[in-house]
Amino acid sequence: MMNQSVLKKYGTLIGALGILLVIALFVQSNYMLSLLSQAVIYTILAVSLQLIFGYAGQVSMAHAGFFGIGAYTSAILTYHYDWNFVLAFLMAGVVAAIVSLILSPMAKLGEIYFAMSTLAFNLILTIVFANGGNLTGGWNGLPGIPFPNIFGWVVDSKKEFFILASIVLIVQYLFMIRLTEGRLGRNFRAIRDNQLAASSLGINIGLTKIKGFILGCFWAGLAGSVMVHMYAFVSPEPFSFHESITVILMVVLGGLGSFVGALFGGFGITFLNEVLKEIPLYRPIFYGLFIVVMMIFWPNGLYGLVKKFQKQTKETLIKYTKINLSLKKYLSQSKDTNQTILKMDHVTKQFGGVVALDNVDLEVKQGQVFGLIGPNGAGKTTFINTITGLEKPTIGKVTFLDEDISGKPMYYVGAKGMVRTFQTSKLFNSMTVVENVMVGTSTILKNDIGMAILQNKEYHIEEQKAYSIAMSIVNLVGLEDKAFDLCANLSYGHRRLVEIARALASQPKVLFLDEPAAGLNLKERENLKDLIIRLRNEFGITIFIVEHDLNLLSKICDHMAVLNFGKKIADGLPQAVVNDPEVIQAYLGRRDKKHA
């Protein structure tokens, strides 16, 4: 099985390696070699943009600009300052990464703002490159950039450049596969599928996107270095925003989110460019039409088309075997039931003229199943949103384990241990059930860029643990035979369970369930009830349920509160609450009046 998984993981890489090797051995024409090297360099660019665009979900219109930063860095350092190529090459990547770091706060913005700002940045870069005086050579460029000398290997023929570029591509491809495999890769895909759900699990979306952006720009810088040394010349033209758009086209053609797709896109568009070389004026028009037609009929590119034919519903690749871990140890919480875990003081939330929450006080103790009821529209969902950081309270304070968390962002609250589910399940639809649950372990795991690339022993131990925990939790909620199904294909009831399982994987101190019984049939409701009781009894997890179904709640809650038109009208033991005349009056509406 290990062999099979290695083949699946590195199959494309091995295939690509083979093809590149054959080319290196047999192609002699300098024209072909030059074209192929160019294709390889553009493919490096496409693969690096795939990380930013297909994974981190940001349309960077400055990718050619970062390519140019690397190119100019390497050119200037070797030409003006006689640096060795190897150092200049690395510096090219580093400088591109540093510049992207300065711009990285923009990566938190919506995609349209990011696209437009990076477009502006690329325009700035072109002006800077073209007006850099002697340093950049202005519009005329810098000719005579020295050939690379890599520890004695002087790269000065077309074939050698092809080999150099191919090595960079292969290392990069390996880098990307590994990077997107572990925790970070899961987080990228989770964010792409559903940002809100990802942040509820404690994933810092902005930071994750920034990581993708910086790493992508780093590789673009390296590609730039290889290119200027190959042509022994640098000028502003190849780094204009038009070239950024060409790289976007490569990624889009291949399909968002697929590195294999980026390989095809990179080679395909480079060769298409060559074919259309004779009619340069018509090329952008042709590409424009091509993009529009693709976006209408074929928005997911080549990769999407292949996927459509595969009709894959189950993911058969299992990277790890499950080991036995104590779920009890993983999930258990403090047994101190006197401790106040969550407290709200005078919380008010207003939307325009509508007061959704009106001066609500509440206290939840460790290990309680706490039920909040109220008719539809009483403000229950607003209540959860306000506690878990989706909304800021207009007035008032939310305290979680003695920390004031009012107004803190959702991922922060999630990482602290307050994890929620949503009224309409928000799953990562392109991932399997067990992968969804593994995303939940994000805040527990430590592996990040470094460990993912190295894939050391520690990494494998951690990933195996994450997998095993996820499988155990999938068993706990009763979805073991669905573990490898894609979430997009699940039934309504199963979706709700996946969401609970995913939240559990993040070791919640308080688990918020927003109308968990909505849309479930009677049997599913019974199972849900049993699961909630089990979570409390076995693991001591504090559970906060919002429901309008009084019947269900009064059977499982230790403590209840009633919300009506934004005000808390009762708070106490379930028996006391359901007997409270004010509750009967308000919650049941007109009944008394009608029968009077």
């Binding site: 711009l103 703002y113 437009m116 477009l119 090329r283 424009g288 529009v292």
Partner: protein, 291 residues
């Protein structure tokens, strides 16, 4: 001297405002950010040039014809590109990529039809002076400012008081509810594209005499976008304020740097705003999609 800079800055600012309004109108009603908006300006500029150099010497007529043609291009962009993508379930990112297609292909079409050389409008348009009693100002700038303010007032009246304008605001507020009350969203969004395209067409003809008309003048769209975000994106009033503010900043800032770095000012402002205050100076909150 300062008065001249003030007036010309105000005039260019008004042009930015017109384009920024086009961004905002389209975005608010259909959710499309058309990165290619600047290219509609190019269409307006080039068409305006052709009209005035071949058909007629009447500048006002060239404004109207350019408006109609750029409006038609806007309308077609919706009907042939954005609407089909949205109808087939395409997401925002697909629409965004399609608008990039407009950004790369329209200028090339422009270059094929009009050539790559910058085209100058006849001198008599831009050289007149208006006597304001105490001082004289450029007639062209005066026309731009007057016309832009007239357009903005017409827009305010249209959106505030007409049935059609109110329906368009309703679409911008809630695209489902407007349908539930019988508003044919598709039709009115198409009209908005027509209007927004027309606005950029006017901007193109007004811009032509100050600089020149050419296939690559569409990058002004990025500056106008800067104006839109400075004012708070999606907010039509903000677009006007942002446009005028940036026009003035560019005019006065431009006197301090050499001409090839002049463009850096507004691109830099766009990036600075995005880094430090993405909600814009008016602080209008962007719509949050939580669903």
């Amino acid at each position: 001297m300062y008065l001249d800079i003030l007036v010309s800055g105000l005039a260019v600012g008004c042009i930015y405002s017109l384009i920024a309004m086009s961004y905002s109108l389209i975005f608010r009603s259909s959710g499309v950010l058309n990165i290619g908006t600047g290219e509609f300006v190019m269409v307006g500029g080039l068409v305006g040039y052709s009209v005035i150099s071949t058909l007629t010497t009447n500048y006002y007529l060239s404004i109207i014809i350019a408006m109609v043609i750029a409006g038609t291009v806007g309308y077609l962009a919706n009907t042939l590109v954005f609407h089909p993508i949205q109808k087939r379930g395409g997401q925002d990112v697909h629409v965004l990529i399609a608008s990039i297609a407009i950004l790369i292909s329209l200028p090339q079409i422009g270059a094929l039809l009009w050539g790559a050389e910058p085209l100058s409008f006849p001198n008599n348009i831009s050289q007149g002076q208006v006597n304001l009693g105490v001082t004289q100002i450029s007639g062209m700038s005066f026309l731009i400012i007057l016309l832009s303010f007239a357009i903005m007032i017409v827009f305010q009246v249209f959106f505030r008081f007409t049935r059609l304008g109110q329906a368009m605001r309703a679409i911008a507020d809630d695209r489902i509810m407007s349908q539930l009350l019988g508003v044919n969203n598709h039709k009115y969004i198409a009209i908005i594209f027509l209007i927004a395209g027309g606005l950029t067409g006017i901007a193109g003809v007004l811009l032509g005499p100050i600089y020149y008309a050419s296939y690559d003048m569409g990058t002004i769209g990025v500056k106008a976008f800067a104006a839109a975000v400075v004012g708070g994106f999606g907010n039509v009033t903000g677009a006007v304020i942002g446009g005028i503010l940036l026009g003035l900043i560019e005019a006065f800032g431009g006197t301090m740097v050499s001409s090839q770095f002049r463009d850096l000012i507004l691109y830099g402002i766009l990036i600075a705003v995005m880094l430090f205050r993405p909600t814009g100076i008016l602080g209008i909150k962007q719509r949050r999609d939580t669903a």
